[in-house]
């Protein structure tokens, strides 16, 4: 790890979420429900990145996300990498796998859909980057979704 990335302290155990598109940083934090954590969380954005120009990084102490939690990120930042840190070492790199189904998280963009007219959770089927609403069957692009 070079000095530039050491702007915030390295963590002993936990998860470093890297390569977040800078403007998506807070959405990632929201989808992972970081506001409910009691461990140390560092959120950085507008950091310089060779790949992305600007990027966001989130470091979360003593927290290892489940595959389900990670898959939620597919709707905002499918290319991010989660570094699993144990005793200051990266022991595993996890990538976001787009799930076949997305429950909650995303709003259906059809105002006449039942999910926008009834207190209920949304539900989408995912194929090739297209979300199809389970109820009204309207399709939307995974890169253009609005979160619930």
């Amino acid at each position: 790890m070079n000095k530039k990335e050491m702007l915030v302290a390295a963590i002993k155990n936990g998860t470093v979420i890297d390569h977040i598109p800078s403007d998506k940083t807070y959405q990632v934090a929201q989808l992972l429900e970081l506001q409910n954590l009691s461990t140390q969380v560092t959120i950085g954005y507008n950091l310089l990145s060779k790949k992305l120009g600007k990027k966001g990084i989130i470091k979360v102490e003593d927290k290892f996300f489940t595959d389900e939690e990670i898959s939620r990120l597919s709707v905002v930042a499918p290319n991010i990498v989660l570094n699993i840190i144990k005793d200051f070492e990266v022991v595993e790199k996890k990538q976001v796998i787009t799930p076949d189904e997305i429950h909650g998280i995303v709003r259906c963009n059809n105002p006449k859909c039942i999910t926008n007219n009834e207190p209920m959770s949304t539900y989408f089927h995912v194929t090739d980057g297209i979300l199809t609403c389970h109820y009204c069957e309207k399709e939307q692009d995974i890169n253009k979704v609005e979160l619930v």
């Binding site: 059809n110 006449k112 009834e118 209920m120 309207k138």
Partner: protein, 315 residues
Amino acid sequence: MDKHNFVTIANLTREKILYMIEMAQEFEKHPNRELLKGKVVATLFFEPSTRTRLSFETAANRLGARVIGFADPKVTSGTKGETLKDTILMVSNYADVIVMRHYIEGAAQYASEVAPVPIVNAGDGAHQHPSQCMLDLYSIYKTQGTLDNLNIYMVGDLKYGRTVHSLLMAMRHFNPTFHFVAPKELAMPKEYKLYCDEHGIKYQEHTAFNEKVIADADILYMTRVQKERFSDLMEYERVKNVYVLNNDLLKSAKPNMKILHPLPRVNEIAYEVDDNPHAYYIQQAGNGLFAREAIFCDVLGITLDEVKNDKTIIL
């Protein structure tokens, strides 16, 4: 036994469609029975639709069921802010099957997930109207003797017309050739043309509507071109009389060709056509009764065999 619903036409197999058609044929032979004696059918029309409601209620009555429900959403607790789920659960306490029409898309699918009794979708907004599709399929089968290898011409509003979209999807099992005849503004949407490509369905598009274009048709499926669908009223004025069927256009039609229309019609089929032997749209609506009797039996777990060996027929 899993609860049967009739919510969408999209996932019905070829075998299931033919099974439902065979059942409808039985009901056409003997529409009056007591197969549903002792059952209560609820018809919940959150959006008025007199034609569809009467057809369902007639089907229920002719099978010996009793019918409860509402035709006017203004009288329901929905206007007091009750959720659809609560309404459906409440009615599930009373009825053995719920027929529902709703202006919200996906409402029937959701109702089928929360209700302990079968849900029959009688139309959910612009989304699906599967019982209409079933009667269209039955009408095609009845007039052509088959659903296979037919030339089906769809005319008029192919953009918003949900009946043409449902028919297109249901026919994918039967190797049809479609011809889409529509003004540019109301052309068949890209997603349905992609659907055709994905399922190997042949289609051609036309903007002209004349004797020659439709000469090859087995089925001419007319729809209403509605003024409110046009953003450009000049365009509407230009096309409003182009997609009108009259006897002159039918001179070269194949002898077996039949004209279907989901009704109501306004001016897209001239009244002179009503007496033409190709006209079939009134009988088509009548077939709705048999198709809906079959739908009721299917969702209530009554099989084709039981319908064939039915001892409750009223002659």
